[in-house]
Symmetry: C2
Subunit: 277 residues, 2 copies
Amino acid sequence: MTRSMQRVAEAVASDPAACAALTVTGLAELTGTSEATVVRTARLLGYPGYRDLRLALAGLAAHQQSGRAPAVTADIAVDDPLPDVVAKLAYDEQQTLADTAAGLDMVQLSAAVGALAGARRTDVYGVGASGLVAQDLTQKLLRIGLIAQAHSDPHLAVTNAVQLRAKDVAVAITHSGSTGDVIEPLRVAFDHGATTIAITGRPDGPVSQYADLVLTTSTARESELRPAAMSSRTSQLLVVDCLFIGVAQRTYESAAPALSASYEALAHRHRSGGPSR
Amino acid sequence: MTRSMQRVAEAVASDPAACAALTVTGLAELTGTSEATVVRTARLLGYPGYRDLRLALAGLAAHQQSGRAPAVTADIAVDDPLPDVVAKLAYDEQQTLADTAAGLDMVQLSAAVGALAGARRTDVYGVGASGLVAQDLTQKLLRIGLIAQAHSDPHLAVTNAVQLRAKDVAVAITHSGSTGDVIEPLRVAFDHGATTIAITGRPDGPVSQYADLVLTTSTARESELRPAAMSSRTSQLLVVDCLFIGVAQRTYESAAPALSASYEALAHRHRSGGPSR
DNA sequence: GATGAGGTGAAGGAAATTTTCGCGCGAAGG
DNA sequence: CCTTCGCGCGAAAATTTCCTTCACCTCATC
């Protein structure tokens, strides 16, 4: 890519919306080049001509705008009106989901699914906010007929971890990657030959030391009003959901009946007075 | 708007993407009209000319497409490869978040925030998957120095609900809106004069009967492999987050120190060996 | 310093868009 | 029933925008 072309490409990249409003001549003037160069650049970018680049730009601009609009300012302030808070939160969590999905290592995930699907039993460790995620994973696994248990009590967790052996799986969930109460039972499980999985936002943290498989969650920025627990939870839950679906797929034969069985069992707990289901 | 113009407008409305790819002449031919009519229609729609309408159309198309693209097929199938599962899940949850944010009644939310911020104590009821959300809300409220408790045991919940009175708040979380185990304690709380809040996907369900305030979560479609619990949880958590931030804002004076205090207290639970924080 | 291989822009040609203008259809009035 | 008028409509001209060609200029290489 030549110098003039770079200038054009730069202008296009830096402000697609503005460029979409410009004609070839306009963009050429803006970048101090000629119309020919603009067209050449468009070609280089993979479009048949400037017209199409312009259309694509309009689309891109619409995208960005839609993405930005709710995040007027990225951070939530103390004096934000409630509608803004809702919009920002929703946007942030969406972003977190996208980041997490993009950053997930499919190989590790696949291996983790395989381990869980074939496990004799599974222990899940998590304390604090991650404890809820641990429970969520456990609930899900139980629903498809697997044997799983969540531990938030570090002592009991270690006591149980001692029982694990090969073919068993231990999962540690910690955002910081350095929560001692979670690392300890994972270490014990690791030492006893179980397959160990870490779900953490810091794949380079101490927890990974004892993890055969590491699933990375997104480490979105936090702010005073928005502690890390919030976005890490969203991210962790997505990973858990992925694990669950993956395992359910692999064990479909047994998972499907188990799912409907648990569903049936709950039906009578819902008052008949309400709208069906 | 004249007949020919209607035809053009219709074509544009029914398939923006296709029209964006068309030239004036093309669109005129497609709609069986003339170029002049197309331009006139564009003017009528508020654009200076067809060129600008087309750009707008491209933007619109990009929007729509972005909504669709990742959802290659909306449902997760048993034989979906893992990367697809991840993408679909992330997309679905993002969609759920957007729906929830869009559907939240700000008046109700604002009132709920006010009630929570001024509550003497808060009880939260939830069983099953919603139980985790209830715990999440409780954890958050506790972190900013409020008195809150989650109940998943229906008997204990009712026993506790009896203690509630005016100025107290009871929150029921149920996706179906008809979970007896959650409705019952809410009813008791309601009868004792507490402010009752329901977080449910069925605002017309029985639970709303005893709720002063109803916060509606999104009721995304579920599928065999993706039980309702999954998307309802995402939605519920967003509502909880909104409540939390709202309350934290209103009680900022006391919430801020409480937040940092709880943070400090946890610091030593993280091994120093890892990367900081 | 000569030579050649691109990068670059000016100008002309093609295609798009916009405007103009007149035709024809239907409604209202004689 | 006929005339007249208004107006929607489209063909074609006018204009703008976009694309192509070609000649010039720059810079690296020998």
